[in-house]
Amino acid sequence: MLGLSLGTLAAVAWRAEGASTLGPADWAAVRFTLTQALLSAALSVTLAVPVARALARRRFPGRGLLITLLGAPFLLPVIVAVLGLLAVFGRSGLISQALAPLGLGPIDIYGLRGVVLAHVFFNLPLATRLILQGWLAIPAERFRLAASLGFTAHDVARRLEWPMLRSVLPGAFLVIFLICMTSFAVALTLGGGPRATTVELAIYQAFRFEFDLGRAALLALIQFALCAGAAALAFAVAVPGGFGAGLDRPLARWDAGGVWLRVLDGMWIALAALFLLVPLAMIVARGLAGVTDLPPSVWQAAGRSLAVALGSAALTLALALPIALAAVRLGGPRGAALQAAGLMAIAASPLVMGTGLFILLFPLADPVALALPLTALVNAAMSLPFALRALTPAMAEAEAGFGRLADSLGLRGAVRLRLVLLPRLRRPIGFTLGLSAALSMGDLGVIALFADPGQATLPLQLYRLMAAYRMEAAAGAALLLLALSLGLFWIFDRGGRVNAQA
């Protein structure tokens, strides 16, 4: 995985002619990138805590559906999500329209606030899911014990939830920070202009505007170093939860009965749902007109994307399980370093990764012929950090709770994986498969760098429709993409949760 991220970078640097230096504009890009990524990650995680808590202790009809739908912004191609967001928060969006009769508005979101708003829109669901996983990983027995001791919600927060958050939050923060670090189109579009130049855009400029591969590699290296620093910090802050194992009793909560708490939780859930689902509803509404007569090539592209998504999901799991296992086995700083290495793929610039792959492969094989497998591979690398976030803690809990028993029974290797770890990890595995498949489905990825006309994936076809002025058909394709991504996510995620209560 490091090979994929650092190796491609090295390939680009190797192909460069002569060394390069960075100008003041590049440093401004570094500063802006850090600022927006820190703000976006902090806000996403902060807001996700009450939402995840509300979702963890409330049961209501449609809760599962809501949790799935909340994941949608994260899975959408940037362009679709941004247009959906603008349909609500833009100058002619719903809010501006509602304010107009009052003589107010239109509201102006362009600038740092727009960048942060968009990044929160993209990443709040992810943060919520990661934190919710943490909540679900606290065995039901602990809550039962807390109830028997007469814990109030406040006591539960202090004794159970805060230690869990200490172990989960740094990782969630880090993942979102890394995503925002490599953001480019979102930052630029909602940042309102070149003020919002991120390092990734500077890489883009160095590569395609100046064809200065040395500078592109140098900028990519800086982006990488910043991410690695952030990762080191996050792992230093994280404290393992150590909740031990339970007997898989259905989770019931006794500490959340108060009316005030119900109202509070309800409010958080409603706010998050509104914030995330209204832009989605706009995307759906726009797409309905176009989805009925999509050209056959869009359906073919959808089929290709499905194949890539499934391949990518399988690949992600094949990569993530051994890394998570090794990280748990090694433990301590070495295990953390291994986890961090797995996270680093996300810090790699997609452009540099694609270009590096191209440089490496071009002398050996036709990159165009390998476009689809390469897309699956790069998508898997991009999904790996999320997979590790979800799998490693659960793996650690499973090993802590049942490792000795498995040892004493001589359960090793594939058998241990099949009988002990996989069943204990069903939820995070379902989540990982669903997320990686859906992410791959919506990612434009390296396919845009070397595609044959006949190899277009659905996101690429969507961009092509837009580039051909066919905005209505593009909206239809976006709806199809949304439905397929969510469908994939739901099926896998659901598969991980069925019977998980028995």
Partner: protein, 329 residues
């Protein structure tokens, strides 16, 4: 017993394929899409050339050139189609292109063409597109745009987008040393800068901005394909910057004659008549049947601005710095 027969069949098939020469053309992505010129042009050329035309897409014009530079002389490309005059200087400098060696037919370009390496296949003017129902009186110059309080435009980033770079050159060609001043004046009008054309145009259609940087030919799509005549391009007194899209043949090609055939075909009616309603640009040679219905209604700038390729390359970095400084404040 059937196995040898099948094997023989495969053998015949492969020899048959091997005898058909393959012409590889690198181009930008929207050219090869189902809605671009690619499919029709592939069919039309293959009908006459006795060859297999292989279109390979790589992002946009700038990505295309970067791809070619990465591959160098080992590239499989025989022809590169889709560079514009902002890129031809850098492209020629790579030494990867051979002179076209063709006597072109009379070209219907707003400017004279004497490049011996690259041949144009279509052209258009950059312009701000607006909606007549929402903006009855559009500004008629950059000065007027600066003065139009409350008006918002969306433009593209010159570092990642062809029209974005076109606007940079437009302001430079029209206002020269006053360019920084113009950009400073435009800054409050610019709602935002997007990565590519699609984002900006999508935002405009969604009503997010009053005008969007696009082409004078953009309204033709709405008129011809959608029967919607509400979109128009605002004419600017300074004149409009011209984009000429060109193709050239690659020096290392193993099919030099076929490549020349393709360049000749490119300027023939079969190719040129496809351009207006697929690429939504003006063909370099007006087809015998004339331009499609609707193109006559388009705004035609009286003055075409175009920096020569070498000059465009020379002023580019300074113009970009001016742009960034003015808009970053």
């Amino acid at each position: 017993m059937r196995l040898p027969i099948i094997a023989a069949g495969i053998l015949c098939a492969t020899t048959a394929v091997a005898e058909t020469p393959v012409l590889t053309v690198y181009t930008y992505d929207s050219f090869v899409s189902d809605w671009g010129p690619g499919p029709k042009i592939e069919a039309a050329f293959e009908a006459v050339c006795g060859c297999d035309l292989r279109l390979v897409a790589a992002g946009d014009g700038a990505a295309l050139l970067a791809r070619l530079r990465l591959e160098g002389a080992r590239t499989e490309a025989d022809v590169v189609l889709g560079l514009d005059t902002n890129l031809t200087a850098a492209a020629a400098e790579t030494g990867l292109f051979a002179p076209h060696g063709i006597e072109p037919p009379a070209l219907d370009l707003p400017v004279a063409w004497d490049d011996t390496t690259f041949l144009p296949y279509d052209w258009g003017h950059f312009a701000f597109v607006y909606d007549k129902t929402r903006l009855p009186e559009p500004p008629d110059s950059f000065e007027a745009l600066i003065a139009a309080e409350g008006l918002k435009i969306v433009i593209q980033d010159p570092r990642s987008s062809t029209p974005g770079l076109g606007l940079l050159m437009w302001v430079k060609a029209a206002h020269g040393d006053r360019a920084p001043e113009i950009w400073a004046g435009l800054a409050p009008r610019i709602l935002t800068v997007t990565k590519g054309w699609s984002e900006a145009y999508g935002m405009f259609l969604q009503g997010e901005a009053d005008m969007v940087l696009s082409y004078t030919t953009s309204p033709a799509y709405h008129l011809i394909a959608e029967g919607d005549d509400s979109k128009a391009a605002a004419g600017f007194a300074e004149g409009h910057y011209l984009q000429v899209e060109v193709a050239g043949r690659v020096a290392s090609s193993d099919q030099p004659e076929l490549a020349q055939d393709f360049l000749r075909f490119m300027l023939s009616d079969a190719f040129q008549s496809v351009i207006p309603t697929t690429n939504w640009m003006y063909p370099a040679v007006t087809p015998e049947a004339g331009l499609p219905e609707g193109f006559q209604t388009l705004f035609r700038p009286e003055t075409s601005l175009l920096l020569p390729a070498d000059r465009a390359a020379a002023v580019r970095d300074a113009a970009l710095a001016e742009w960034r400084d003015a808009l970053s404040r």
